[in-house]
Symmetry: C3
Subunit: 181 residues, 3 copies
C-alpha cells in the first residue's frame, strides 16, 4: 500500500536518525574507555578534534595518549550515560549534552583517588563530515565526586565478569554471533 | 527512487517521534532543575498541570515557586534519567515512566539533609495540546534515599565545572554555536 | 504531499524501530523485577531462553523461580539502565548491550548483603520470532558492587512511594487512564 509522508514528518525522521547516530557516538566513547579500547575512543572524534577534560586540555591524539596513561592506573571504569539531548545548529552540526555517572575502581580499594564515582555532563559539538557524525569539540563538565574508598568491592558471587580484554562477555558474544552468522 | 511505506510502519514511526518528543519533555525538566532555570521547568508542564512531588502537592505555578525555594538551599543537583517507557492511552495522551537517580549537594558537606542521592521514578500523564507534548499530571515516586554526608566533594582537579548560571559550559557552547551559525 | 523516501533511509528507520522494540524488552525486564511482576520478566524472554546471571545459570523457567526467591529477601530494587547499544547480526538477530546500576535494599538496613548497589551490563542475544523481539540468551555481567549498609534509608518526607503491588503509582495511573479512555 502506498501512503503519504509529509515533508515535515520526513524531516523529523531524518533528525531522529541523526540523534540516534550521535547517541551511538557517545556510546562508542564510553565502551572504548570501559573496555580499554583506545581506538574505539578515537573513532568517536574527528581528526584534530579538541577535548577539554578533567585535568586535561588538548587534541584527540594527545587526549588518547593521556587517557591510556590514566586508565592504566585503574582496574576498571563504568561510564553510565543518560539524558541525551541534541540541539541542531544546522544540518551537519549539533550541540549534544549527555549526563554521565562514572564509577572508577582500583587497587588498593581503600584509596579514594582511584576508587570514586563522579557525576558530570559531556557537552559535545558534534559534526557530520563525509556522512559521519563524530565529536569536533568536547567539554567534560564536572558536577560532583564521591569517594568510594573501602566500600566498592568486586562481586563475590559467581557469574560473568567485565574485563578489559577479549575475555569480556560482550566480545565473546559478538565473536560467536559473527561465526554463526 | 520511490518506495513503499506501509500504514503500519508509518504508524510506528509516528509513535517513535512522539516517544522522542515526550522524552525531551522529561529532559527539559531535568535540565531546568539542574541549571536552576525555572522557566524551562515550567515549559515541561501544561498550564494548570498538577504535580505530586516529594513533600509537595499542587499545580505547576505553586510547584515552580516551591521548587525555587528548595533549590536555593542547595549548591547543585544532578537528575540523571534512564528507563523511559511510554504507553499511549490515545493519540494525544500517554503514560510515561522514567527512572531517575538524583544527586543533591550543599554546604556544609557533612549535612545529610542537603547531601544525598535519591532514586525514584517520574510517572507522568503526558498530553499533546495544540501539537505540543507536556506534563498534565506528575507523580514523583520515591524509591530510596542515601546520605552522602561527608563523602561528596566538589572535584579538586582543573577542568570545566557545572554551574547554575550562564557560565555553565552548555550555555557557553550553545551561545557560541548560535553566533557562528 | 508525496515525497521520496530512499531505500537506504527506509532501512535506517526500520532498524530504529527494531532498536526501540529491543530497548523496550530491556525496560520490561527491569520493570518486572522492580515491581515484582515475574510474568512481565518472563515476557522479556523467548521460551527456552538461557540466562547466565550472577550466581545463577539456567533457562528462563528456572531463572524466574530463582529470581522470585531472591527478590523475596529484599524490600525493593531499582534497575536503572543507560547506554543501550544494539548491533544487528541479521534481520532477526541482534547483540544488545545495556549498562545498569542496580540498587537493592532490605531489612535490617545495616546488612550489606541485602543493601548494596551493583554496576554491570546486560549482554543479550535478542531474536525476533513470529514478529516479537525478546531475549534468546542473556549474560548479566558484573562490574562493581558497593555496600550501602547503614546509608540507604526509605524517604522520610511525605509523597508517593514505590511498591511491589497494585498500590504503586504507575499501576494506579495506568488503571485510571484505561478507565477514562
Amino acid at each position: 500500500m502506498w501512503t503519504v509522508v509529509t515533508v515535515s514528518e520526513l524531516g523529523s525522521v531524518t533528525k531522529l536518525l541523526d540523534k540516534q547516530a550521535i547517541y551511538e557516538v557517545v556510546l562508542r566513547y564510553c565502551r572504548g574507555v570501559d573496555r580499554l579500547d583506545i581506538e574505539l575512543v578515537r573513532s568517536a572524534y574527528h581528526p584534530g578534534a579538541v577535548d577539554h577534560h578533567v585535568g586535561f586540555e588538548g587534541n584527540i591524539d594527545e587526549y588518547a595518549a593521556w587517557l591510556e596513561r590514566v586508565l592504566a592506573k585503574l582496574d576498571g571504569t563504568m561510564h553510565l550515560v543518560g539524558n541525551h539531548y541534541v540541539e541542531f545548529v544546522d544540518d551537519d552540526r549539533a550541540i549534544s549534552e549527555t549526563y554521565v555517572i562514572a564509577t572508577h575502581w582500583g587497587t588498593p580499594s581503600d584509596d579514594g583517588l582511584i576508587n570514586f564515582t563522579g557525576g558530570g555532563r559531556y557537552v559535545d559539538v558534534m559534526e557530520r563530515r563525509n556522512g559521519v557524525w563524530a565529536i569536533a569539540e568536547r567539554w567534560a563538565v564536572q558536577e560532583w565526586s564521591r569517594s568510594d574508598a573501602g566500600t566498592v568491592t568486586m562481586p563475590r558471587v559467581p557469574g560473568a565478569r567485565g574485563s578489559r580484554d577479549n575475555t569480556d562477555p560482550l566480545h565473546q558474544v559478538l565473536a560467536r554471533a559473527r561465526r554463526t552468522k
